[in-house]
Symmetry: C3
Subunit: 675 residues, 3 copies
């Protein structure tokens, strides 16, 4: 069963953000845009994102004529529309009349009008104004045949430190701690430094001007900020729902940091995100697999195809160095998203504006205004490919592996005082574990620590410092029932309030599951390293962290071969129930894990669509539905690939030719359907 973004349009969307209000004085440009849309093989435009000042130029005075006109034009040109609520940026008059809609900074000072967002999510006035305009948009366009989805606001982010928000935070904590200040004191271990609270009224936001050391408070503050953002978004959607049932999405941002995407996903119908890799940079290789990681994360969030809401035609303008995408890269990056489950390829932006901060950001249509540009032609080529592979729309990849990337763990770990204090490298570590799957073409679900693990054959949990009791239980059951769990150093140190577990790490029951006790963790200076010897005979280098772990039932698969802890375990495995639990005690550069992953995957018979080793920076992914099996072969390297065996019979979906092997140019991708 295929799942579509919108069942009324079971096709890939190809288009992007369009700001026609910038050209209201040059409507001939609107008409030219409609003409160019088809020429570019595009079928979608996203409008309304920053139109608030145009459609409500004065408080309560709405003027939809511009939107009416442009929506009809797009519709007439055969385009579909993703329609945005305009709350990503308020009109000036609102900040002028209601200063309380502006955010307050950490230093207590209210911001001035400017930038995007910069509004208080708790502000009753702002919520009222947002709901009012959303309601009108939904009423007017919510059933328009060209409109296929709601784009809620734009890249929600940030936080506000105003008194209203602080009071909401107190409410949040009263609820969490059953209005019992002693529960809070215990959870926050506030006796430390005599910081006991005697009333919820004493709670202030964590601040460099005051309270910084209560890590439980810090992590609850992050939870609260995420919750307030989601609550604001829910109210936006609620207003739309009064008049429209179109699917709702919001465009998420890469850093995956300030928002708990798992909680946010619950109130959305479809996930979409904005992907801006630094191709051809010194971290080009990392980008290749990190993009896979992100796409997998966004697909996993609702376990259905997602939308690539924004990507840059040609280049961006806001990085430190804004390099041109090399020929082929626009198409390869677009199809990479599809290979991981995206059903759209959308750009920021359709046409470059003349002024302000994004005028040099890549666009389908450049300042020159013609289709005779390298970038326009690249977009057109991507559109051509999408047309040929349209039947893939709605399918999903098959997945047997879950990798845990837990945002609450990241918040807690980054905030923790200890280890290497400034840079815990959680994300880098998780993606290093991801890479071993990516290079083998094994699609992975990126889950958080509370996911249902029962459907996976293998679960990998790097650096899961914060392991709450539910997770301890979930891990225990997963292994008992036959699952293979691979965890690393720092597992099970603190509970959900960042309180250390007593009785030895990892937390209670996990010592039995893994058959170990972790006594100490050695943090190395960058200049340091330790030697690790695998039972297989190979040697590896440990960097950054080496735990001194005692095997208590587990079998030792690798040991340290230097430092005062030489001879103590570097990797253990424990048979527990019907499953196995691995524990890696040190940070490796990826080579150790890659070797171990090879053995474990072989044992579990997990592999990618092409089993043979692939050339460096070349990979393959699959999407499928019943008997339909689609194969993507992707080349992120700057070198051509010749005659790679497909290990089966396929049809090249663009040429229609039969194929049992594939050759690829630099930054090339080909898509096949299994015969």
């Amino acid at each position: 069963m295929r799942k579509y973004i919108n069942d009324s349009f079971p096709h890939f969307l190809h288009g992007g953000d369009y700001n026609p209000e910038q050209w209201i004085a040059n409507k001939e440009i609107w008409d030219e845009d409609m003409r160019l849309l088809g020429e570019a093989n595009c079928n979608e435009l996203t409008v309304g994102i920053f139109s608030w000042a145009t459609i409500e130029p004065e408080e309560g005075k709405y003027d939809f004529s511009f939107l009416d006109e442009i929506i009809e034009k797009i519709h007439n040109a055969g385009g579909k529309i993703v329609l945005a609520t305009p709350t990503g940026s308020r009109p000036r008059w609102m900040a002028e009349k209601y200063p309380e809609v502006l955010r307050v900074a950490e230093n207590g000072q209210r911001n001035l009008y400017g930038t995007r967002h910069n509004h208080c999510y708790t502000s009753p006035v702002y919520r009222e104004k947002a709901a009012a305009i959303n309601r009108r948009l939904a009423e007017r366009y919510g059933k328009h045949p060209a409109v296929v989805a709601w784009h809620i606001s734009n890249e929600y982010s940030g936080r506000c430190y105003c008194p209203l928000c602080e009071e909401k935070f107190r409410e949040y904590l009263r609820k969490k701690f059953d209005n019992d200040i002693n529960k809070l004191n215990h959870a926050y271990w506030s006796t430390f430094w005599s910081h006991n609270y005697t009333s919820f009224d004493q709670i202030e936001f964590p601040s460099s001007r005051g309270e910084t050391v209560i890590h439980g408070l810090n992590v609850d503050f992050r939870r609260f900020v995420s919750e307030m953002t989601i609550d604001f978004m829910s109210e936006e959607i609620k207003a739309l729902r009064e008049f429209s049932d179109l699917p709702a999405t919001t465009n998420l941002l890469r850093p995956v940091y300030d928002l708990d995407h798992w909680k946010l996903a619950k109130v959305l119908d479809v996930i979409s995100w904005d992907s801006y890799p630094e191709w051809h940079s010194p971290r080009h290789e990392n980008e290749a697999y990190e993009r896979g990681f992100y796409h997998d994360h966004y697909r996993t969030l609702k376990n259905r195809p997602f939308m690539l809401m924004e990507s840059a035609p040609g280049l961006v303008n806001w990085m430190e160095f804004n390099k041109l995408k090399r020929p082929g890269m626009d198409r390869l990056a677009a199809i990479q998203a599809v290979a991981h489950g995206s059903d759209t390829v959308q750009y920021f932006q359709w046409r470059k504006g003349r002024g302000s901060s994004e005028k040099f950001h890549g666009a389908v249509v450049d300042h020159v205004g013609t289709s005779d540009t390298r970038v326009f032609k690249a977009v057109k080529a991507t559109g051509e490919t999408l047309k040929h592979i349209d039947e893939i729309c709605g399918t999903m990849p098959e997945v047997k592996v879950a990798l845990i990337y837990d945002i609450e763990n990241r918040w807690a770990l980054d905030d923790s005082q200890g280890f290497c204090r400034k840079n815990k490298k959680y994300f880098e570590t998780v993606t290093t574990y991801y890479k071993a799957f990516w290079k083998r073409g094994i699609t992975v679900d990126i889950v958080n620590a509370h996911a249902d693990l029962s459907k996976y054959d293998l679960v990998v949990a790097p650096m899961l410092y914060m392991t709450d009791k539910d997770t301890v239980e979930s891990f225990t059951k997963y292994v008992e029932n036959g699952g293979t769990l691979y965890a690393t150093y720092m597992l099970g140190m603190v509970d959900e309030n960042d309180l250390c577990y007593l009785g030895g790490f990892p937390a209670n029951g996990l010592k039995d599951v893994f058959g170990i006790w972790n006594e100490e963790i050695d943090t190395l200076y960058p200049q340091d390293s330790a030697l690790v010897k695998c039972n297989c005979g190979k040697e590896f280098v440990a960097k950054d962290y080496c735990e001194i772990v005692h095997a208590r039932g587990a079998k030792v698969l690798a040991e340290y071969a230097s430092e005062f802890y030489a001879g103590s375990p570097a990797l253990t495995v424990n048979e527990y129930g019907k499953g196995k639990a691995y524990y890696q005690t040190f940070r490796d550069g990826g080579d150790f894990w890659d070797t171990i992953a090879g053995s474990i995957l072989a044992e579990l018979d997990i592999h990618g669509p092409i089993k043979a080793d692939l050339p460096e920076l070349v990979t393959a992914h699959q999407r499928q539905d019943g008997d339909d099996f689609y194969l993507f072969v992707e080349n992120y390297s700057g070198k051509p690939v010749e005659n790679l065996s497909l290990e089966g019979e396929y049809i090249d979906m663009e040429t229609g030719d039969k194929a049992t092997s594939v050759s690829l140019g630099e930054f090339d991708v080909k898509i096949f359907k299994k015969i």
Copy 2:
């Protein structure tokens, strides 16, 4: 016709800043200073710069006895005086009684009393107090025979964010946009992010707390700050003019950044500046030609001899590393200024103070208080040289080349979001172009984009991102009429409001003048480079920027030989009207330009006073008046130079000997007059 600083004293001034109010309790030091003045071969002292608290110790209570006395002493010692208005630093009582004279910082907080400046240029009180004391100074000393010029305030700089200034900014914009908010909205492209203004009252200063992305606003803010500073200065001069016609100058500062020197020069009679190079540092070589650049800039501002108002005897104290100037360097740096058109050599400072932040800044007279120091003797030697070459005073160099360094372009380019975002290297690039002239001894006028170009044989315009319509027209006419124009990547991208030109770069008509269309610009990572092949056969390396340019009529003189744009133009030339327009599409390390410059200069028969190639870090400059031709041969290298041919017959102005060649010691300079 020679032009003098002050016609009543047609001689070089040699002296510097003197703060006798610091020694009011030790007047024997005043007398010793008068004695040392002559011993040091000095003939000038600049007084009054920070005397406000001494001459107006309480509000409205003036006491000029100290100034009366010191001016008479200097006069009696045969010295000339440059008399300063004291507005560089207010007395404490003024800030205490009128806090509004203190600046407000960007965060909205009013400064406390302290440092220099730190006053609001719009403050009516401050303007009134400044005018009052200036009027009294002019009345009292404006016709004193020893006083030769007014030194207005001191190193004007900085800005204020107070409500008065903000209101002035609104006025400024109302005037610029004819009180039409829609004109402003269009110019600022404010529809972007829904930032439309509906009233001029909504305008706030650009601020990290609010509006940051409206680049048109940002550049107008810089224009406004510059204008307010100039307006304040004009009022200072106006007050003096009620009683005195002495020439007025203000000491400008190196960075050439916050003020539009071209607008400022209009209200001054004479330009002066403070030069503080980092000799003998890792950037010694850059300093050698950058100082030439600055001196040329300051001479060009009013096309007449300028004043080196401040320079450091021996060393400064405020750099990160405060190294001693090596023997010879004091004299060489002084005469370098003269070689480029300075008619003064002045120091900061005559005598080191005992306390506060400049007590370790070099001075003619050190804390030891005697003339028996290395630095005192160096000053004395410079004075000796100046006496021998006094007849050069008032002459000017002959100039055939203009190099465009445009401050508004720099403001816009640095603020632009795109390319390499953090460091555009505009100044470094312009001075790299300058270097090719400097090493050949070719004196260059440093002009802005609105200069009258008709008098030049060659005009060079690097990175002229902001090219307004007047400049487009000026360039077109210049080439049409036979001029040679050499421009580079980024030419003609935006207008004066930082709005991108539509229809392809460079702006409209310039595509015809240069015979090209610039489709894209590739920004390289520092690790990247591209290869460029010249038709001459030589190869060069492109760094940072490579434009993909299409020749549309232009002749291609060099091409890329690597990257996906291999084969596209690296240098083009177009014959247009009676002239030629060159366009360089990439950033080179200076070697490519140096090679091309060699050909172009040969073709145009432009050369320095010595035509032969000079040794590294050795150069030669000329000043002339009718038949009088003066030659300066300068050695910035740490090695002696032997028997360099002068290519003509000269007299060594210090020895009186005839010379056809010259030998120079390390950091040495010799001055010749043509026979």
Copy 3:
């Protein structure tokens, strides 16, 4: 005569900070702690440091039951107690009710509740509340047989910018300058930049928002901050003294920066400090001798044994990299303190807390809660050693050398505008001078510039930029009377108000004492160096600073051999009175000084307890009392040491064996008593 921390307990204390209020809900942990105390060979616990919220949960409502109980438990377990006043951190209710107890930051904004300290030392309310609780503590526990000392507050530090403090600062200056604003104006050289004060009411704190350049004000501000902290501490002690005569100490911190320890020591009975070296880091070697320096400093402060109040079992958690101490290091670091005069080895912390910012800081008892850990066993081993060497308690080392490390000089030098502006490296330089003594096992007194020098055979004064008239006199007399004084570049430049001396450096009389005149100082770029040739024939490299000094009577022992000052003195010596005064004109890497130190020490017959050269990172120290002579041989290197001759007959205090030589493992120490 031995001097003990507390005569009633003439033994080493071995224990540390204990926070039982964190475990009030788990009293079985208290009992377990009592059991573990003995097992760890510990005999002390420090309690009460952060107990304020527990013992005064509401204003004026005291509840000592928790302290009563825990003190009895410790007493019954045979432990001694160091009892803290709880003022290091206020309860929340105090900040809620009296916001004025919170500090104001430099920007004028009052802090929020949080962190430690963060209280205004001038606040009358805070002083009243502190005195009230201290009085009750003293009344209740001041004569308890288990309590051996008062631990006043915790790591005093920081400053407040509130109006109350600012008014106190004005009072401080009125007193210093006899209420005469002209005296202040002269001392501050405020005429510079017209900053003259006309009233003490105009004085504001130095601030980046205002006054920054008055260096005399800056150094007085530092003196004031130190004085206010000491004044606050004195009031704390005064309150205790109403009921208790126990010795009072406060735990000082490494940086030795914000407080004038010499003034603070006057109001304390015993010195204690918190030592947190970065062992096994890239600066392991520096730590080895720097710790010696610190210990010597703290011993010198009151010329009696001191307390090592805090040290980390195993590791800390707040450094950038928190590496484990290698086996042996805990014991070696503990005994190093003893070797330099400590009579305690105390840890932060006894037991790791579950939450907040120090939960990963090393502790005797880890989260696992057992004695079966590497770290617990290391503490136990240290305790074992301490028992064997207990008779050393109360003795002192013999000292013949003083090294001047002057905090006022450091404040002034760091603040000075000149030289290498950002990093004067005063501390690094002083400790480089120290190292030559440390490696020879020569114990050194670390004094300030106002110490009585008469008892020393050798005094070393590096970089004594600020040399007031008393010091000039003290130096003169010291040399006259036969002392050997070794000073370096920058000696005698400014007086106590940072006013430059006139008449040439070093200050007045010192030119005669040293027989030199210092004309100029050359600051080198990091890339630069100069060559120095010693009369002995060896060559050395000068970095950073080279003074151009003229010998005026002094004998030149070394000269520059490069740069334009080649041939001028690098080291001079002058016979003056019965003594000798050396002057080193440049910064060396330590090798030059080490060579010179060797000659001078030989001449003065000063040596360590082992005269032979010791292996690298191995040293030996002594403590003695009458005929009792104790020898510590310490190995900070990662290599074993074999058969090092002790140059005498000793008994190994741990084994009881006779010994004439010693072998040591990695990071090992052995202690001997002379037979």
